[in-house]
């Protein structure tokens, strides 16, 4: 007794979600659980089911939908690592076990007690205040989740925010350990003062304060993942690891190497997203380059100020600059912009 007993167009069960069925291949677990889960990316005029002019609807129109970064279908983006929640926690649980091992092993060897007084001072000014900087990266990554136009982008950004908190936590852990082992260093008390006043941090602070209010999603993404994070990787973390090795702080060097593994993952998905954006619309090359050019001076000033304060790392800033440029070159943005300008 149904009203459609004679209907011929009754939809039949499929082997996967209807939106994946057209691909005619077995979907991965990643595709099944990650693609097209952000429902408010669907209605462009009224992302939220409220008055069209309510504050957050205007915000999403201004900063997501009207972003100069354009693609006809952002939901087509795929994380090259195909990470889902389940695989992320498994992966990072393993990495955290490794970090636990480092901390335990070095503690047993009275590592902190063997560090020189000069290096302790360097750690107090140039390492432990870093939790503030890493927290700004955490906040900026979280912002991407608020405004990015598809769930596959959101998920990468949400995991990145968690990665950043991971290192905020480990810096806090080391701060407490150093405070216990080297009470003369002032650890655990002076970090905010250094972050707000020490010349080494003011460039990074200016970069991140300003980037935190770059609310266009595309600009936030490019500014964070192509300018700020690579600059901090190459111009803060890597030089600090180099200085640490020169001062017998193998623990810090190992910790930073572990931290940079998270950054490598960030670069993989970020590069994939840029390639996806360029494939969707080559005009994005000019947009992305404009943002890179806009934010690079602040990032360069930040790494120069930091590296100047680091002992025994005279060419760190220029090496960092080269490394970031090499990362940008890998995207081929200039060639695409030129080709796009030349095309009719």
């Amino acid at each position: 007794m149904t009203q459609h007993e004679n209907e011929t167009d009754v939809l039949r069960p499929l082997k996967t979600w209807s939106h994946l069925a057209a691909a005619r291949r077995r979907p991965s677990e990643y595709e099944i659980v990650s693609v097209k889960t952000l429902y408010n990316a669907v209605n462009l005029e009224r992302p939220l089911e409220l008055d069209s002019n309510v504050y957050m609807n205007r915000w999403l129109r201004d900063y997501r939908i009207d972003s100069p970064l354009k693609h006809p279908d952002w939901s087509g983006f795929r994380d090259p690592d195909e990470l889902i929640y389940r695989t992320y926690t498994t992966l990072q649980n393993g990495h955290e076990t490794y970090v636990d091992g480092l901390l335990d092993q070095h503690d047993e060897q009275d590592h902190d007690q063997g560090l020189g007084a000069d290096w302790i001072e360097t750690l107090a000014t140039l390492y432990t205040p870093m939790r503030y900087l890493l927290h700004t990266l955490q906040m900026c990554s979280a912002y991407l989740v608020v405004v990015a136009p598809s769930s596959t982008i959101d998920n990468c950004a949400a995991l990145q925010a968690a990665d950043q908190y991971r290192w905020v936590s480990r810096v806090a852990y080391r701060t407490a350990e150093l405070a216990r082992h080297r009470p003369e260093g002032g650890f655990g008390h002076a970090e905010r003062g250094h972050w707000e006043n020490h010349p080494a941090w003011q460039g990074a602070r200016e970069l991140m304060e300003k980037l935190l209010i770059a609310y266009d999603w595309g600009e936030a993404f490019v500014g964070l993942n192509f300018v700020a994070k690579p600059a901090i990787d190459e111009g803060v973390l890597r030089p600090l690891a180099g200085a640490a090795r020169r001062h017998g702080d193998t623990l810090l060097a190992f910790l930073i190497e572990a931290q940079l593994r998270d950054s490598e993952r960030s670069r993989r998905w970020s590069s994939a997203l840029v390639r996806y954006a360029l494939a969707g619309d080559p005009a994005n090359a000019a947009v992305i380059l404009t943002w890179i050019e806009k934010w690079t001076p602040l990032a360069t000033a930040a790494t120069e100020a930091y590296c100047r304060a680091l002992p025994d790392m005279p060419v760190a800033a220029s090496e960092a600059d080269e490394a970031v440029k090499a990362f940008h070159s890998s995207l081929g943005l200039h060639a695409i912009r030129t080709a796009n300008r030349a095309s009719p």
Binding site: M1, P13, V33, L50, D100, D104, A142, S169, E206
Partner: protein
């Protein structure tokens, strides 16, 4: 081994507020995004999340939780539980996954808004995990639901529902957007984590888990219990917000946020959970009635949480208590009648034995809803098919998007609530929904209910078939009576205590 305790370093990881110099505090934390209560960064530094967890603990605990849930599913995958389950239980799975998988995802940007714009570092950190939790809830539930896509096209709605314009999708999006992403971080921490998660998720995730275990659906029971363990942690974000607000003289505003969200969630949850627990769950597997679950999880627990914080019960509490007796009975009958508009097959749940259970749990049920079901059963028995389907949709509320229902046979107690604003009249299901609108009419002004869309000509043709197509619900997805009306023939009715063969398995 000489690891520090979490307490030795945790406070440092949440001492991350600083005084911005290169931008203003209001640029960094726009009040409309961060805190409409107007507290300073310093005032927010008193924020103390009661449930603390480190990143190291988080990935350890969560990876083990997932390993447990996925391995139970894998172990039971070949048990054919679904094929042999009662059609009512199959409908619960369709209803649950359709209503919740992507709704969970609305909290991913929601939690992230707290992680970015919250003025308290502890809130930002816990919400960073909260966003991951909600990603988990979306993904694990989608994965479990996907197992069933080849069984029924209706399971496709687990993925698709919230990108449609069905009444259920609009009502869900409206409730979530109004209380989560459409609010500033401080308000949403109350509306999402305190009013919704602490208030209601126990009901769906623990109440239904108990029924699922009794029904033998251990995979589902285990899944939703596992989800709830995350909720129990991150739902405490909002309680800590309320303490800060009350300590800074914002009790009245905080109370209003609780009252708005509690009502919006209640309208949604009785629609979702009430029929599932009192009608769709096979009688033999029912643990408690919906009303008993509400009394345990909401009236007792939530009331205690409010009192502990120094807040009052919502102003409409007496009406809320009364509505526990009737909202979902009327709602269930209505959904059964418009069953083509939903993606599961509603079980009427009114066989003789089930009616006896309903009468025992809700004295007077027969005199109110039973009499209406008598008429429907009579129409079934006499083959009056045209009377078993609606000619149009019921009146829907301009706030919650759900029907304006009441108690039948009580002098037709239904009364209208409306507000004139701008160029039109807005209709509401109840005084609390009207109150929510009147607080901030501009927030809802140009939003149209499904009925508005019918009247404005957005839905063409403006009939049931046109509406179903507007809902993006095609034959094969639309609901039908779960038991092919067997309940309407008392003399033929199967023993409702026994498992009934499902239509799909047959």
């Amino acid at each position: 081994m000489a690891f520090l305790n979490r307490a030795d370093w945790y406070d440092l990881a949440r001492a991350t507020n600083w005084s911005p110099r290169y931008v203003s505090e209001d640029q960094l934390f726009p009040p409309e995004m961060s805190d409409r209560f107007g507290l300073s960064l310093e005032q927010w530094e008193a924020y103390d999340e009661p449930f603390k967890i480190s990143y190291r603990e988080y990935v350890d605990v969560q990876s083990r939780k997932d390993a447990d849930a996925y391995s139970v599913r894998a172990a039971l995958a070949r048990s054919n539980f679904y094929d042999n389950a009662d059609a009512g239980w199959q409908s619960i799975l369709k209803l649950h996954f359709g209503a919740l998988c992507l709704t969970e995802y609305s909290a991913v940007p929601g939690e992230s808004k707290m992680a970015r714009f919250g003025k308290a570092p502890g809130m930002r950190n816990m919400a960073t995990f909260g966003a991951l939790d909600e990603m988990r809830h979306t993904q694990i539930q989608l994965y479990f639901a996907h197992e069933f896509v080849s069984k029924s096209r209706q399971f496709d709605l687990a993925q698709k529902l919230l990108s449609t314009n069905s009444w259920a999708a609009i009502a869900t999006r409206s409730a979530m957007d109004d209380t989560i992403l459409g609010r500033d971080a401080a308000t949403l921490s109350i509306m999402l984590t305190f009013a919704l998660e602490q208030g209601f998720t126990n009901l769906q995730f623990l109440g239904l888990a108990a029924d699922a275990a009794r029904a033998g659906d251990f995979s589902f029971s285990n899944l939703i219990s596992s989800v709830q363990t995350d909720e129990a942690r991150h739902s405490q974000i909002g309680g800590a917000t309320l303490k800060v607000l009350i300590a800074n003289g914002k009790k009245e505003e905080a109370q209003r946020a609780v009252d708005i969200s509690f009502w919006r969630q209640w309208r949604l949850f009785f629609t979702l959970t009430g029929p599932a627990i009192d009608y769709l769950t096979p009688l033999a597997h029912r643990d408690k009635s919906f009303k008993e679950f509400i009394q345990e999880f909401i009236v007792a627990q939530f009331e205690r949480a409010l009192v502990d914080l120094g807040l009052e019960r919502p102003w409409y509490w007496d009406f809320f208590l009364k509505s526990i007796e009737f909202y979902h009975h009327s709602g269930h009958l209505e959904i059964w009648f418009v069953r083509q508009t939903v993606w599961w097959n509603p079980a009427a749940g009114v066989s003789a034995a089930e009616r006896a259970w309903l009468e025992a749990k809700y004295p007077g049920w027969n005199a109110k809803w039973g009499r209406l079901w008598d008429v429907i059963a009579d129409n079934v028995r006499h083959g009056r098919t045209d009377k078993l389907y609606p000619k149009t949709l019921p009146m829907l509320c301009n706030i919650c998007g759900l029907s304006v229902g009441s108690i039948p046979h009580e002098g037709h107690s239904n009364r209208g609530y409306w507000t004139e604003f701008g160029m039109r009249r807005y209709y509401f299901c109840s005084e609390p929904c009207q109150w929510i609108f009147n607080l901030e009419p501009l927030r809802y002004q140009d939003h149209k209910s499904v009925i508005d869309r019918l009247l404005c000509g957005d839905i063409q043709p403006p009939d049931i078939e046109g509406t179903l197509r507007y809902f993006d619900l095609m034959p094969g997805e639309r609901g039908e009576d779960a038991h092919d009306y067997a309940w309407a023939w008392p003399e033929l009715a199967l023993d409702p205590a026994a498992e009934r063969p499902s239509q799909e398995a047959a």
